[in-house]
Symmetry: C2
Subunit: 526 residues, 2 copies
């Protein structure tokens, strides 16, 4: 059977690889018909060389060209929405509506357009001009970026249409997309549109490229390659840390978005005040998308008492009453079960679930576990095993001190949330937990669940290790996410006509604030 | 003999270590009298615990407190300038004037005060507010920072008074200073003043601490420690990469400023136009401070011809006529010689030098090497061995293409410089070399030598690996250098009174620009 072509240096062509793979529809367990290649190292090297050549070419492009490409791409995607979401539906089991068509697709287009705006207005580049010394600096593109997309967002985090892709391109970098093998057709469709948009916008061959899969060893060699600028990876902790080690050794930045259990502390006064709302919000957040969100609330901490028992009972009832959703694949179901069993082995009890659901599709029963605060504190790592999917652990702490001690033992997470009473009865406890929790999370949330990551300039979809590889960066939120794929360029005594546009005396964009002699201003240099 | 005390958790006390060391005056090779301890791991752990406790305490401090401390510290240093520069003179062999008193000390005080301003005005924190989603974010302190100072800047890069120290404190982080063993007395004097300033400014015990030396293993454990926020290291590539590997494995950011040979391309038209000036500038830059600058021009590329030969002869004459300066120690002299020999073994020839200078002090003859462009291109790594000190390699390229090929083979460097004719005769060659060179350096310079790193907001004292560990950051230049020691803090739906001051509706500083709904403004949130 002929395998699908890869996109290398502007050409769709047969892979030289001999290994192949096929995607599976998790809603039916049927193998999908298209066959995709595993690219060998020689092919990866060709991709790198083409990206390097493209980078040399685009370095002299006006920044508007990258914006034009991103906008043209978004416009062309809009013409093929139905085809893309249908492919994604088959490959992920996610419903077409609202999830794919009304949620992720809208977000994907919005991200591409926000990135286009940022590419054009250059705010992300932080231009800084010192007229006394005639030293001028800005953030500029870092070089070819390899993007490894995850399984759980086939559109909005896709390696060739998602947040990392948009950020890398907005900075002016070629992208080497390494598709996720669970949704190759979706990725291929995006790449076809992206390549057509590249040609239309005058981008060179090799500016965007797509391979579907490599061996683990070749993935590690790619991120460590001396000609690569940086990598973005979203996925499992294990695979991510293998790539991080390789990239670190090669001296290449790699931005990771790994596991996170997103602790939620529900303080006693909040439970008393808003019991039903919190039960609904938690259940909805935990089971939405079959729990397959990076910010799924996998750990809830409550204080022992009747209200806590009622909360657990109410949540368990909803978990039982809600049909188990479809998981992204058999592998996801297996590791969900393994995560649940690992948590159970630390001394947690299953309240409901922990059994297969529908044998005809990839699924597992909605699972609720409970553990004591004492048990958590005795084995914090064990209780923080990620069970990615429709499962959560409720820890019942005996005292305020135990709640705080749990916060102290948390690993790095993307988010941490505290529900507290609106009249102030929880305020003392809030203050002590919040101060501790903040240091373990990228985004501190009040009174709502962590799922739902707005594409806002103020968003932080990042956090302390091992949620990511560096606590100063975010994967979502423009312009900050663009700065990951940048290097600091400094021009010292460089003749004015040789400078990049944003560092010249005349400000090229009326809305662009530049630091001139320590003052933020939209003025020209005088 | 009693060894000097270490500063741990606010107390000057005897180290529990049994190993000791003494500094040597490189100008006389005499061992200095004070004895300093090597701190064992148990002591390093105490330091970490105290820093963690201090971090918890200062998290609730108003940002002005850090500024007050930095300013008080600078003011107290000013009262002891003579004592400090005398100690540094004995430990480094640098002249008191102008180098230490009029150069480094002035810079040190300026840096501390610039950092104080930045701590107060908070521009470095990039506050970003999205009123529609009520998500607000900023850069905040990353946690305890370990600073490893280098041998070559006993004041301005000292682990407890230099740029990394000032940046880490300005962000609100406790600092664990690991002094450089070649100038312990200088470091101790700074630490005494710093601790007194801490007490005066109401900073908690453990906010700044000093140990002089650890084993290499314990240094690696320190940077990898899960309770550490980040590290800053300036020094040799070998030791730096060992620390980087440890920090990377531990998931901790480490900012490195490693070796750099700072290539200088002198284009034919420039040599024709400004021969004598360039000879003087190069010789001065190369031999200044006995060549012991991070930005010392260790590699010069010229185009073959009579002018190139005359240039080499003129430089060689000046190298011979200038007395060899004192090096920082016997180790520096040994590795300088080893670097020269390594370059020689690649096929370079010694034009002058490469022999011991004055046996009564740490020194080595001013050394000039030359090689062909062909030889460089055949073994680029060998020709880029760092010979840290008063030595430089001139590469004579046969053609424009060979000059460009040399640029393509450069490792990551802090700086790269091009001299070109002011009438435009070199412009075509400039354009091709500059575009290539820029990707290999942090700071691209025109028509002047790389030494002299202004403390300017626009400065980049950073560059691609292996000059540093990440091309997006700079060790010099406020506010950017502060952002290294920061994590991104995001507040989602957090009640207004619980927010950090810079994220509240009211702008606390009239000069602080905040991104509110995508617009940079000094206004309050409406």
């Amino acid at each position: 059977m002929t395998s699908q072509p890869v996109l290398i240096n502007g050409q769709w062509r047969a892979s030289t690889g001999t290994e192949t793979f096929q995607a599976i529809n998790p809603a039916t367990k049927e193998t999908l018909s298209e066959v995709y290649p595993v690219s060998p190292w020689s092919e990866v090297e060709e991709v790198i060389d083409a990206a390097v050549a493209a980078f040399k070419t685009v370095r002299s492009y006006p920044v508007g060209r990258f914006a034009d490409f991103l906008e043209a791409y978004a416009a062309k995607i809009e013409l093929k929405i139905d085809e893309i979401v249908e492919a994604a539906h088959l490959e992920t089991g996610y419903p077409i509506s609202p999830r794919l068509k009304d949620g992720e697709m809208v977000r994907t287009l919005d991200q591409l357009r926000q990135a286009a705006d940022a590419a054009r207005n250059q705010t992300w580049s932080l231009p800084t001009i010192d007229t006394k010394t005639n030293i001028r600096s800005m953030l500029g593109p870092i070089g070819p970026v390899a993007v490894f997309g995850p399984n759980n967002f086939p559109l909005a985090f896709n390696s060739i249409s998602g947040g990392d892709f948009a950020a890398a391109v907005a900075a002016g970098n070629p992208v080497i997309a390494k598709g996720h093998p669970s949704h190759p057709r979706t990725t291929q469709l995006f790449a076809e549109i992206a390549q057509a948009s590249c040609e239309r916008s005058g981008m060179p061959a090799g500016f965007i490229q797509l391979i579907y899969r490599t061996s683990h060893e070749d993935g590690a060699k790619l991120v460590a390659h001396p000609k690569l600028g940086a990598s973005g990876y979203t996925g499992s902790r294990h695979a991510g840390l293998v790539l991080k080690e390789a990239a670190d050794r090669g001296g290449n930045p790699i931005y990771l978005e790994l596991s996170s259990i997103n602790p939620v502390f529900i303080l006693p006064g909040a439970l008393e005040e808003r019991f039903s709302e919190i039960v609904d919000e938690f259940t909805g957040s935990c089971l939405m998308g079959t729990g397959q969100f990076c910010t799924n609330p996998g750990l809830v901490v409550v204080k022992a008492g009747d209200a806590a028992e009622e909360f657990i009972n109410a949540v368990a009832a909803k978990f039982k009453a809600t049909p188990a959703g479809t998981l992204l694949g058999e592998g996801v179901a297996r590791s969900l079960r393994a995560g649940i069993v690992a948590i159970q082995q630390t001394g947690a009890q299953v309240v409901t679930g922990n059994e297969p659901a529908d044998a005809n599709r990839c699924s597992y029963a909605n699972t609720l576990l409970r553990a004591t605060g004492k048990s958590f504190i005795e084995n914090p790592a064990g209780h923080q095993e990620e069970a990615f999917g429709n499962a959560s652990l409720i820890v019942v702490a005996d005292s305020d001190e135990e709640m705080l001690a749990i916060a102290e033992q948390l690993e790095g997470n993307l988010t941490g949330c505290i529900y507290s009473n609106t009249e102030g009865t929880d305020d003392a406890l809030y203050d002590s937990i919040a101060e501790e929790l903040r240091r373990h999370v990228g985004r501190l949330i009040n009174d709502k669940m962590p799922t739902g990551v707005a594409v806002s300039p103020a968003m932080n979809h990042g956090g302390p290790y091992p949620a990511t590889g560096h606590p100063g960066f975010t994967a979502v939120g423009i312009p900050a996410s663009i700065r990951r794929f940048a290097s600091l360029e400094c021009y010292d005594n460089v003749r004015l006509h040789r400078l990049p546009e944003v560092l010249r005396d005349e400000n090229p964009h009326e809305s662009l604030h530049r630091d001139i002699d320590g003052i933020m201003t939209t003025d020209d240099v005088k």
